[in-house]
Amino acid sequence: MRIVVLTKPVPDPAAAEHLGPDGRVDRTGGNVINGNDEYALEAALKLVETHGGEVTVVAMSPETGRDVLRKALAMGATRGVLITDPALAGADWLSTIRVLAAAVREMEFDLLLVGVDTSDGGAGLVPAGLAALLGLPYLSNAATIEPVDAGVRVNRITATGFETLESATPAVIGGTQALGAPRYPTLKGIMGARSKEVAVRTLGDLGLDPATVGGAAAGTRVVDLRRPPERGQAKMVRGPAADVAREVVEFLAARGFI
């Protein structure tokens, strides 16, 4: 089973500042693997452990994203591909899926796993858009992934439970935290990752014109950027339970919730 996983480098969500003054995500600081991508990676590693095969991890980012690929390799991925090009700064969603699709088209795979959304952009549209561009089936919000005869089966999380989906492969799957907690790299894994290949692909390598993708071609622009108004310090309430309960309920009633 050949699996490709998109592992997006994102600013550490615990850090304070993320957007530069130009309204673009500041990608110069420390990066981590996007949360839902890391769950997808874990699912991919488990699948190849059980069924055999290999896992290729792909990141589109500045050179700093290489660290994220190294971590994925240390967890057990077979090889990495870093898509990087100065012209990609400020790429919008449409450019992003076009570039990713061009890179993925060069690979042979049965499954393309992508986290359902990211902690920086958070639009949650990349896996669906990629599936459409690649002309592949899309199975979203996966809680489980299992190979079946001539295809793949996914339990998709819905508002009321799950629906079980099946499609032919190759297919694109949107992964969630329900796939299971990611492993930590072992020392052996970290050492082994040093000798694994990280191929670099530029827009030129992918046959893409920088005028048609990236910042120059963005179909959206930020016209204003601001911090949310500070919430005042919380009103603190202490005392016997019955008294504080009355105060809470009066507060809720005053705001129209009761």
Binding site: A128, Y138, L165, S167, T220, P228, R238
Partner: protein, 326 residues
């Protein structure tokens, strides 16, 4: 009707029009009025009549597409292909969906097929010099941005609870539309459905969320959350710690790798307010916290903070609610 604004009507899990779709339709109507642009709804379903009639309560005109393929296949990709085909002949400038999982799937496929840009997770939109100006919260509410389409054309996904649904009178018209095109994208079969016993209300749609963290301690704490949610007419939510402990199902998880919610009221029990949770709920209008630790980070962004034991304060709030209602 070239240059129009379209809103895609999505079905709710239990049947009928999703409340989110009525909110999105209300926003579309407001944009249309501000910009002097016609607004239409689009419904694609195996039997679209009822859904289309409901959506027509919010927009002047609804296109109803009958799609037999939706009876047994995963819907988003099919819906997106039908809307894309309609859009190629009718040439709207803007198409709006909900930013819930189904809406995202539709929007992603649709925008890719049309080659349109997307502004995602809108909290509001107004009409500017070159079309809509869309307000978005990024990084879970750490910052807000206002964005627009450079060519005035694109797909917008709208967060639940971003706008309040307002019906229009009289209701709009419904037109049945046939689309004969071949479905080019490969299908995904639905081979089974599993209904969770304790499904409850979807946390991302709820106007009131009662959420628990590590401090709820186990099943008794979950029962308390459920009783409070029932008494307030809300949905139960959870932090990752409560989900990892196995007390509450993942679909109710709020935060970085779970749902992002914007309820009117967020009642947080035993939740410290770590950043990974905060990014999922800090745009709630009112936040009330119950926590034993007065120095918990949630004190920095709650409106009201009760310092105390949630197993004493929670039941007392329930009693007080019942007393008030007689």
């Amino acid at each position: 009707m070239p240059g129009g604004i379209w809103v895609i009507g999505q079905a709710a899990a239990g049947g009928g029009l999703a409340r989110l779709s009525s909110e999105v339709a209300t926003l579309a109507r407001a944009l249309g009025e501000a910009g002097g642009v016609p607004v239409s709804g689009v419904v694609v379903a195996a039997e679209p009549a009822a859904l289309a009639a409901e959506l027509a309560g919010f927009v002047p005109r609804v296109l109803a597409v009958t799609e037999p393929a939706l009876a047994a296949s995963a819907g988003a990709t099919v819906v997106a292909q039908r809307v894309a085909a309609l859009a190629r002949t009718n040439a709207p400038n803007l198409i709006l969906t909900g930013a819930d999982p189904d809406g995202r799937d539709i929007a992603g496929v649709l925008a890719a097929l049309l080659g349109w840009p997307v502004l995602a997770n809108a909290l509001n939109a107004t009409w500017g010099p070159v079309g809509p100006r869309v307000e978005i919260s990024v990084f879970g509410g750490k910052q807000f941005s206002t964005s627009e389409f450079t060519a005035g054309r694109g797909v917008i996904t709208v967060r639940p609870n971003a706008v309040q649904a307002v019906a229009q009178t009289p209701a709009g018209s419904v037109e049945a539309v046939q689309i004969a095109d071949h479905l080019a994208l490969p299908g995904v079969r639905v081979v089974g459905r599993i209904h969770e016993q304790h499904g409850g209300a979807a946390v991302e749609d709820a106007r009131i969320v009662v959420a628990g963290g590590r401090g709820i301690g186990g099943p008794d704490g979950v029962t308390l959350l459920e009783h409070l949610a029932e008494a307030l007419g809300g949905a139960v939510g959870a932090t990752r710690a409560a989900v990892d402990a196995g007390w509450i199902d993942y679909p109710k998880q709020i935060g970085q790798t779970g749902k992002i919610v914007k309820p009117a009221l967020y009642l947080a029990l035993g939740i410290s307010g770590a950043i990974q949770h905060k990014v999922g709920m800090q745009t709630a209008e009112t936040i009330v916290a119950v926590n034993r630790d007065a120095d918990a980070p949630i004190a920095e962004f709650a409106d009201l903070m009760v310092v105390g034991d949630l197993f004493e304060v929670g039941p007392a709030i329930l009693d007080e609610l019942r007393t008030r209602r007689g």
